[in-house]
Subunit: 295 residues, 2 copies
């Protein structure tokens, strides 16, 4: 069976982690200019990973590699009144702690892409967020725009209203409008099903349609609905999508215990504004970082 782009991503991630571990704390910063995790658009990524390890030994003084937990986290700031200074802090923290990505609103993508160039941290943004109630062509336009601006990962919200109305065809087309553009550009796509608003049956439907539409991840929540991620939802979603997709738990993950519960349930990515706290807890240090508030 040929490797899918997602298989390649996982392979790269595993090798990267092993190299890091073998190097005993070396920090790898080699990632191609497009910031993408997709190896097919970054033919030199593996070589870069292997070659670049020694380049930032000095990082250890300012925190060093945070261990595997940081690499699972999308360091998130989505509140509408976040200022440029707060976004700059978010990006600085992400580079320091080596989070997988920063996750921020579309208006901040160009700034984040510029600040994080060469850091190994991706730029994740949101589309149709947080209501998912814009039309498919608007979501697709928004996706093209954020990719143009430098996004390497796109978290889109499904058309919840169509799902609630039994219009499965519209839900599928809506997801595909975004995932097709992402796939063509070598950008990771995540589909937010907003589990707190759905019945279990609707959760299954949403995950099935996401898989059928070629998404890379399903994601539990926006963080703006009445509830966030639960371990039960993560487990259900993992069962539906199997091992060939990612599951992102987001909304309400505020500490290491919460993050571990999500990973144990099947999450392969965590969306959180408390990333610094989570990493510090994993090191046994007292949490002092910013962003430990709500999602």
């Amino acid at each position: 069976m040929p490797l899918t782009p997602f298989d390649v991503d996982r392979l790269v991630a595993i090798i990267t982690e092993e190299v890091l571990r073998a190097a005993g704390g070396l920090v790898v910063t080699g990632r191609c200019a497009c910031h993408s995790l997709h190896a097919e658009c970054c033919p030199d990524l593996l070589r870069g990973v292997l070659d670049a390890g020694a380049s930032r030994l000095g990082m250890q003084a300012s925190g060093g590699p945070a261990g595997s937990v940081a690499g699972l986290i999308d360091h998130t700031l989505l509140k509408p009144d976040a200022s440029q200074v707060e976004i700059e802090t978010l990006c600085r923290e992400a580079a320091e702690y080596h989070f997988a990505t920063v996750c921020l609103n579309p208006i901040w993508v160009p700034l984040a892409a510029r600040l994080l160039r060469g850091s190994g941290v991706g730029v994740c943004t949101v589309v149709g967020f947080p209501l998912g109630a814009t039309t498919a062509d608007v979501k697709q336009f928004e996706t093209r725009r954020v990719i143009f601006d430098g996004a390497t990962e796109v978290d889109m919200v499904i058309n919840v209203g169509a799902l609630k109305s039994g219009d499965v065809r519209t839900v599928h087309q809506d997801i595909q409008a975004v995932t097709a553009v992402c796939r063509a550009a070598g950008v990771l796509s995540k589909v937010i099903i907003e589990a707190a608003l759905l019945t279990d049956e609707e959760k299954v439907t949403a995950c099935t349609l996401s898989k059928a539409a070629g998404a890379d991840f399903v994601k539990t929540s926006t963080g703006f609905a009445k509830g966030g991620a639960t371990a039960a939802d993560v487990a259900l979603m993992r069962r539906v999508v199997g091992d060939s997709m990612g599951v992102k738990a987001a909304g309400g993950v505020r500490d290491l215990t919460g993050a571990q519960a999500m990973v144990q349930a099947g999450a392969s990515r965590i969306g959180a504004s408390a990333g610094v706290r989570i990493v510090q807890e994993s090191r046994g240090t007292t949490p002092v970082g910013s962003g430990a508030g709500g999602y």
Copy 2:
């Protein structure tokens, strides 16, 4: 001084109300096919208003005209999990109670435009909602799309993050990207400043920029932030924009007393999910209607 489009709107509204009052309960359904309140694109609107009064006498049995309060209300349902059945109910109520518009998410605009054709009720929708954190070109694309689908009024959210960062130029360009398209299409534009997130100084700046960008209304809130409309905010906004623009109070207006307080403070439009309750209270009947919950 020549009449502005907004002056013409107000003139039409006043004449319509007087005609309704003089007719003692006749329901006027004449509005041009574009559903617009802008007389400049509806040259026959005044004639239609005067001619069409007798066409729906039967409405009185099912409620009849609700008096001037209904005409101030955007009957609102913006929760992401609203289903088609709920949207149909919203539109039916709007036609029955003669609200100014229904206010709903973009995905429902085509349905609402179809259901409300000829009813005299406008179709209001939201752009860049509720965070306002998409780029100007995405908001403009979204605006074109909803107007194509039949929206007659567009409520857009400002770029709060840019305002918080002191980037006034970006805030202005963002508003103008939407208002210019609306104005060209004869569609009413409202600018949501999300007052609960702003200092008084930022509220003044946002209202000033909205006026400079040619918006028809400023609007207090999305209903999704930590606070909704306050009489103090409405009064401040009215002072800044003067008499030549509208002020819409939205978020947390749940009864007649609340609506009256907003009007007294200077509001010329109310966004509420409790429209039915408000109208029933104004008639002295017991509230039994749907939509009396949160915004």
